[in-house]
Every structure is written in C-alpha cells, then in structure tokens.
C-alpha cells in the first residue's frame, strides 16, 4: 500500500492536478460541499424538520443583507419559517447521498454485466448489448418518471414518502447500467486482444481470475471518468424528479424538492426560497462535471464519448 | 537547373518536454525525371522531410530555418493559399496506408474529380473522363464502375492504385511517395513499385521515395539519401550506396540485410537503438553506436566530405580519406 501511495504522489496525475487551477478549485469546492452537507446534523443552526424549531411567524424572511433580514436566518426562511441555510445543508446531503449510492449501484451492475458480456462474448454478449441499446434509447428520466409515477399512484403518497430515497436510488441506479456496461465491455474487448491475456491463459489461470485480477484494473480509468459525470447526472435526474413531485417529499427534501417548493414564490417576491437551493445545485453539478472533464483529459482523451 | 532544391532545412517541434529538432540542416536536390530515395529507420525524419516540402507538418511543428526552392519560389515562405495551388497540382503525394488515405464516406469518383476541379476549370463530364483514363493507366479493371464505388469496396492493392491515379491527375512535376508499400501484402508491394516505376518513366515524373526498405530503394531509385536522427548522413547514387557504403551507419544497415549473412550465422545488428529526437547525443548523433568512434565524434557534428558524387557526414571517413 505504501508503495502505491508513493507512486501516486510522484505521478503525472498529481502533477497535472496541481497545475490545473480549475481542477483544484473544483475539487476543493466539492470537498467543502460534501464535508459541510454530510455534517449537517452537527453544524446546521437549526433542524428544519423538527416542528418544534419552526415558527410560522418567521416565514418568508429575506436573507441577511436585505432590509427585513434576520440575523438568525442568514439566507432567509421559506414559507413555513424554516431556515434556508439549514434546509439547504440537509437537502444537499440528501442529493449527494442519492447521487453517490445510485452511481454505486449502476457501476456495480454495469461493470459486472460489461465484464461478462465482454469476456464471454457470443450470444450472451449480443443479448446484453441489445438490451443495453434498447434501454439507452429509453432515457433514464423517462423511465424514472414512469416508474415513480406509477408507484406513487399505486401505493399512495404516504408509503411513497417513506420509501422515496430508496426508490430513487434503485431507479436511477438500475436505469443507467448500460453506460458502464458498454464502456467496460469496450475496454475488455480491447484488452482481450492483448497478449498478456493469452499469456495468463496459457499459464492456466481461470476465466474469472483473469477477468477480475488482470483485465479489470486496466479498465479502471474509463470507469473513473464516467463515474464523475454519472454522479453529476444522477444528482440532476434526482433534482428533476423531485421538482416534478416524484422524488423526495417536502418534509425530507433534496435540493430539487426545495426548488420546487420555492417555485411559486418567484413571482411574488420571495426569490431566495428557490434561488439559493438552485445555486447550490448548479455549483454542485458544475464542479462535478468540471472534475469529470479534467479527469477525462488527463487519463485518456479518447476513451469516453457521450 | 534542379527541379526541387532543399537547402539547410531545419524543422522543430516545441513539446512539453522540450523542443525537438526533427530535421537538422537537411539539404538535397531533385532533378527533372529523377528518382530519389530517402531511407532510414522509423523516427529518422524521412516523413517529416516529405511533409515539410508541402508544408503539411502538423502543428506545433514549424520550419525554423532553410529553403525549399521549387519553380522559382521558396515553398517554406509561401502562404497557405499559394501552397494550395502547388499541392496536388505540381507536387503530389502518396501516403502509406490507402485505407486511411481515402475518405470512407465519399466515392472514388468524387475523390478523384474534386482534385481536378480544385486546380483547373473543367467540366464535370470531362473530369470524369480524365479520371477513368487515369484509372486505366494504373491498370484498374472496369474503371467506369469504380467511380461509383466506395473505398471499402476495393482491395488494398487497388486502393493504392487509386491513390496513385489521383496523384497523377494533374500531371505534376514531382510525386512524393511516403512508404507507399509498407501497408500492403508482399506480393502487391512488388506490383505497386513496378507501376510507380512505369508511370515515372512514361510521364517523366520526378519521384521522392521514402522507405525503410533498402530492397525497394535498390530497385527503383537512381540516388539515395540516408537519414539518421534528423540528419543526412550519406547521399549518393543508389548503386554506390548499396555496394560501397561509406558511412558506418549505412554500412550497418546494408550488413543487417538477411541476404548479407550466410545460413547458420547470426544476423548482423547495429548495437543500440536510434535515440529519440528529444535527446539526440551531442556531436555526431550516431557516435554511441558506432564502432569507429573517435573523440571528436562526441563533440562536433561532422561536415560533409564529398567524393565521386557521394557525400558522407562522418569524422572517421573524413580522416581516413585525407590520409590516403
């Protein structure tokens, strides 16, 4: 382990990272957002979902620097009197959680299927790829909307709200496996042609071992590139779903639901209820995308095509 | 009066690791109807020399010094517009792999006719007739049908013939062929080289043939240039180079040919490898691998010593020949 760490420190990778200001800034911002949001229970000034801490008299207070602002609520409050700063912290936490777990699910699913398809080839490969093609043509968002809508219609909003976070992770996770599968499969096919695989086979190593111990490490860089972009996409998809009312409920909102609940107040003047969550969402996604772009340039310019 | 004169050409590539000199003080001439070969290992700078003549070196490469005199102009100083009129018109080029050279989504006909339209005022029908005529000249059967076909529908050998036909469309003065047979099957290689030879003689074309294959050079060219690490190390009539090489590197190349060893013997190798262009040794670039190395070789680039129409850049040879 120590040796790998030393190699990493001395690598070209770290060198480029240092030099590229955009990557540095993006990564720091991301780190801050993640750290801050995951420690929300510790650092948020209020718990916005504890009814005893909310006073409806505080509702629609503008942010600190405006006239009617209140020191207790630096970013203002929403229509129920909840502190915006706290809701955003908790909301970011939920958005990130869903994004990360969904990507975890799709990557595990996709990598496994991609490895199988690529390594075993033949009919299994053809079948899996056809499936992937068809699934890709039905956009994730569409499938998610339909599935979640039906779920909600069938089981009612009560049950739905409890399961929302789980459902979101499942749906986004399962819908996006083709991206990973395709990329991994392409890598596997390229590696299969290389001689070290033949060498390993000649020595007598079993298929699974070759696949996991030898081929997989070489497919890691495209996987890494995709993962960042997929996290960004997952967060965006979840935000869209929550905005439509099919995602996180109002009492346990993600950034998307926050934007949704603030939408109606744009025209009546309380712009901050939507604006701040929106800003955080955009920054979060932007930073992740920038990192993904940078990773792609550094690791291999030609390997990932949208 | 030489047709093409390259004088003291220097081409550099600024890279992240430092600046790379791909061509260092390269000079040679080409006369009308003459066939010149440029040989050397991969990375020696042969292709760069060819591309530089037509100013086709990819960015970030640039011409740092020197001249390329052709038909009264210095091509190195010409604008893109002026070069457009020379390329494919007065000087044509043939690349290595015909599958990559022809655009897969355009028909053969389109790719031929556009060359004519680019340089002459000519009607569509007349252009097609000329195209068919050229296809016939390169011995492609049923030429009219070929015009409608796409590159992937032809075999490798036929594709290269098409590329040659395209090169001939405008009756250029010079054809530059960059490894024209390397990507082809051995049997086809011979056919293509014969075709090139035949056409050059027919149309009195000057040919610059770039290759690493000494056998091809021996059969086709009249004079040969040997390059090493961006530098010309020897030049002379092809027969002299093959039979009487003077530069240690050229001798090494000739000796390494399988024909030069007896069965059962090990093949003769030149020890070491050619240095990457980013770290060329000081003095004579070949000195780390040379068995005749002298102290001066490490510090000074040798001048050319000329004898019997050959020129060689070697301290050892120069020394030996002044003492005899």
């Amino acid at each position: 382990m120590n040796r790998y760490w030393r190699l990493f420190l001395a690598s070209d990778f770290l060198y480029r990272f240092h030099r590229d200001r955009v990557a540095l800034v993006s990564f720091s911002l991301l780190l801050i957002l993640v750290a801050v949001s995951f420690s929300a229970p510790l650092i948020a000034p209020f718990d916005p979902y504890d009814p005893s801490q909310i006073d409806i008299m505080d509702s629609e207070t503008p942010p600190l620097w405006l006239e009617a602002g209140d020191q207790r609520f630096p970013l203002g409050t929403d229509a129920q009197g909840r502190d915006m700063l706290s809701t955003i912290l908790y909301g970011t936490r939920i958005s990130l959680t869903i994004g990360l777990f969904a990507v975890l699910l799709q990557s595990v699913l996709g990598i496994t299927l991609g490895l199988i398809a690529g390594y075993l080839g033949g009919r299994i490969d053809a079948f899996l790829m056809r499936l992937a093609d068809i699934q890709l043509s039905f956009s994730t968002l569409m499938v998610a909307i339909v599935v979640l809508a039906l779920f909600q219609a069938a089981f009612g909003t009560e049950l739905y709200n409890d399961l929302a976070i789980f459902m979101l992770i499942m749906v986004i996770g399962i819908a996006e496996w083709p991206q990973y599968a395709r990329t991994v499969r392409a890598s596997v096919l390229a590696e299969k042609k290389k001689e070290y695989v033949d060498a390993a086979r000649v020595i007598g190593l079993g298929k699974r071992r070759i696949m996991f111990r030898h081929v997989l490490p070489n497919t890691l860089s495209p996987i890494l590139v995709i993962s960042t972009v997929q996290v960004a996409n997952a967060i965006m998809s979840e935000a869209a779903l929550s905005f439509l009312g099919l995602g996180m409920p109002v009492n346990k909102p993600s950034l998307g639901s926050l934007i949704n609940s603030g939408f109606e107040f744009i025209l009546s003047g309380s712009w901050w209820i939507t604006a701040f969550p929106a800003l955080v969402l955009v920054v979060l996604v932007l930073v992740t995308n920038l990192l993904g772009d940078w990773l792609r340039d550094v690791l291999n310019p030609k390997l990932y095509k949208e | 009066m030489a047709l093409l004169e390259v004088k003291n050409l220097e081409v550099r590539f600024p890279l992240r690791q430092g600046e790379l000199t791909a061509l260092n003080d390269v000079s040679f001439t080409l006369n009308q109807g003459e066939r010149l070969g440029i040989v050397g290992e991969s990375g020696a700078g042969k292709s760069v020399a060819a591309f530089t003549i037509l100013k086709l070196i990819g960015k970030p490469g640039y011409i740092a010094a020197g001249e390329v005199r052709f038909e009264g102009r210095d091509l190195a100083r010409c604008s893109d517009r002026e070069m457009q009129q020379i390329r494919g018109n007065r000087i044509s080029m043939i690349f290595q792999d015909p599958m990559m050279t022809l655009n897969p989504v355009l028909t053969i006909g389109e790719q031929m006719v556009e060359c004519l339209h680019a340089h002459q005022k000519i009607g569509a029908r007349e252009a097609r007739e000329i195209a068919v005529e050229k296809l016939r000249q390169v011995h492609i059967p049923s030429p009219e049908a070929r015009l409608q076909q796409y590159p992937h529908e032809l075999s490798g050998g036929m594709r290269q013939r098409v590329v040659i036909a395209i090169a001939l469309l405008t009756h250029p003065a010079v054809i530059i062929a960059d490894e024209p047979t390397t990507a082809l099957d051995v049997t086809i290689q011979a056919e293509i080289m014969e075709l090139l030879l035949e056409l050059c003689e027919q149309e009195n074309l000057a040919l610059i043939l770039i290759t690493h294959d000494l056998g091809v050079v021996a059969q086709t060219t009249q004079r040969t240039i040997v390059m090493y690490a961006g530098h010309i190390v020897e030049e002379g009539p092809t027969s002299e180079i093959i039979n009487n090489a003077r530069h240690p590197y050229t001798q090494g190349l000739i000796n390494a040919l399988p024909e030069r060893t007896r069965p059962g013997q090990r093949l003769n190798q030149i020890p070491g490898v050619m240095p990457p262009l980013t770290s060329i040794p000081s003095g004579c670039a070949f000195h780390p691998r040379c068995e005749h190395v002298l102290p001066i070789c490490r510090s000074e680039l040798p001048d050319y010593s000329v004898a019997d129409g050959n020129r060689v850049a070697c301290h050892y040879v120069a020394q030996r020949e002044t003492t005899t």
């Binding site: 039905f138 956009s139 809508a149 905005f243 095509k305 949208e306 | 050279t101 989504v105 556009e114 060359c115």
Partner: protein
C-alpha cells in the same frame, strides 16, 4: 437493406408489445374501473355481476388479448377525468408537444453545427474557449432551472415574453392546432423552446467539436490537404460528413431524453401538451390516460429510433447492406 428493415421492424414490434404488456398490467392493478363508472352507491352483488359481464374476472392473457385488439383499433378506454376516449385526449395535445420539440430541435440544429464546427477548426480562439466554458455550465443547469430563470428574466423582470400557456393558436390542415402561425403563438413558443434546448445544445456542441477534432486528425483529411483542396471543402465535406455520422446515432438516443424533458418544461411553463397532461393524470390516478400516454410515447420512441437507424444506414456507405457492386 430489406433484411435490415425487417429486423428493425421486428425489434420495434417486440418493444411495443412489451410496452403494451406493461401498460396493461398497470391498468389491471391500478385504480378500479368499476368504481369510476359506477360510483360508491352500487351494491356489492350488482358490482360483481358487472364485473363478470365486463370480463374483468377472465384470466390475464384473455384480458390482455382483448386489450391488444382494442388498442390496435385505437380504443384505449375512456379517461376517468375527461369522460372521453383517452387516446383522443392525448392526441389533442400532441401538436402542442410536437411544436415545442420542433422549436427546440431547430435551435439545436442551427446553433450546434456551426458552433461545434468552428470550435473544432479553431480550438484556441477566444470564442471557442468561451463556448466550451459556457457549455459546461449549460449542461450543469437542469432544464427546469433554465426554464425558471428564463421566466424570471424575460417575463417578470423585463416583461418581454409571456410565461405560460400557448397563446393564440390556429387550426392547420383541419386538425392540427398550431401556435406557429400567429405572432402571439410564436411569442409563447420562444421561451419554452429555448428552455428545452438548453441542456442538449451544449451537449451537441461539445459532441460535434470533439468528433470533428478527431476526424481532422485522420489521414484522409491530411490527404485532402495534400491534394490542394480548398479549406471549405475539406472542412465541410470531407470532415463534416464523417463527423455527423456518430452525431446522428447520439441524436437518436437523445430523442428519448428530450421527450422526458418536455414533461419538465411543460410543467414549468404550463404548456398544454402531453407531458403536462400525463402528470395531471398521474396525480388523479386517471389510469386510461396514463396508459394512453405510455403507448403514444412508446410508439414515438420506437418510430423515431427506427427512423434514425434507417437514416444512419442510408448515409453511412460502409454500413450499406445492399449497395455494393463488385
């Protein structure tokens, strides 16, 4: 060519069958048609009788077959809310959504190709760098946020453009309700189209740029230069044709995404299209309408994907199956 078509059509049929199966299972399990028809005050035994008469107790496959037969004839049941044939209700809103998609597609086509090509040819110019920067920001802003932003800017602050609905529409060709032939209609169409295109435009700009840059590195482009061809021809024929091929493929996949995004856009702008209707139907548990939407959208997907594949096969000579003469 024929073999290709047959295969694609077969695939399309399979997909439609799956969609119809899914839709039917939904219908079977979601909501109670009887309740909608009769209300609460009918007795249990009468309900059971009706159930038997309507064939709701028959085995799954029998009901499914019945469903398919009716579906093929265009009968997908009546919307509970509108009390009219569901298919009719959906198709009424079809022009609205289609015009929105059309507007967005126009914007994407007319902007992404020139900008993408320019950025590929002159990647270091300030314009290209600006475009690349903007495009990353563009793909990071979700559609609905762009929509909200546009409304805030152009409707609330500047009051230049309307923020909801379709405005004035006229009936074209006897049945298509179009908003494109009146000034008011076009004013209403502008912001939603821009919003809908906002996430795919940067995507295509980047895609075209990266594809074209790769193409420009190819040997055949170098050869084109060596032939002395004019730059315009090299860029816009030799390079562009090769660039657009993978773009067509991606475009096909993105159509599905765009339809999903219409739901978002229509919601923000209260655009009376199919997507908006679908969400309302979900909220009301109006099952026949939900199913009608699924089937119509499924059909649109399948048709456009097949068309895109076909077009690709026609345009790309290396894929042509029946064209080669030897």
């Amino acid at each position: 060519m024929i073999a290709f078509l047959v295969r694609r059509l077969g695939q399309a049929m399979v997909v439609m069958l799956v969609i119809s199966l899914v839709s039917f299972s939904i219908q079977d399990n979601l909501g109670d048609p009887l309740r909608e028809l009769l209300g609460q005050s009918v007795s249990e035994s009468e309900r059971d009788l009706l159930r038997e008469r309507m064939g709701l107790n028959d085995p799954f496959l029998v009901q499914y077959w019945r469903f398919l037969k009716k579906a093929v004839q265009g009968d997908l049941g009546n919307s509970y809310f509108f009390k009219r044939p569901a298919l009719e209700v959906i198709l009424e809103k079809f022009p609205a959504t289609m015009e929105l998609v059309f507007g967005a597609t126009l914007i994407i086509l007319f902007l992404s190709v020139p900008i993408g090509v320019y950025c590929a040819i002159r990647p270091k110019s300030w314009f290209s760098r600006a475009m690349m920067g903007l495009s990353i920001v563009g793909i990071s802003i979700p559609v609905f946020l762009t929509a909200i932003l546009l409304i805030y800017l152009f409707s609330v602050e500047l009051a230049w453009l309307p923020s909801y609905g379709r405005g004035e529409t006229t009936v074209v060709l006897g049945f298509w309700q179009s908003g494109m032939f009146t000034r008011d209609g076009l004013a209403h169409l502008l912001l939603p189209s821009v919003a809908l295109s906002s996430i795919m435009l940067p995507l295509f700009i980047r895609l075209i740029r990266s594809e074209m840059m790769e193409v420009l590195e190819q040997e055949y482009i170098r050869f084109a230069w060596a032939k002395g061809l004019a730059p315009k021809r090299v860029w816009f024929l030799h390079a562009l044709k090769n660039t657009l091929l993978p773009v067509i493929t991606v475009g096909g996949v993105q159509i599905g995404t765009m339809i999903a995004y219409t739901i978002l856009t229509e919601t923000v702008f209260q655009w009376p299209g199919m997507g908006f209707l679908f969400l309302e139907a979900v909220n009301r548990v109006d099952t026949p309408l939900i199913i009608a939407y699924l089937i119509v959208v499924g059909l649109i997907f399948v048709i456009t994907n097949t068309l895109v594949d076909l077009i690709y096969g026609l345009v790309n000579p290396t894929v042509r199956l029946a064209g080669g003469q030897r």
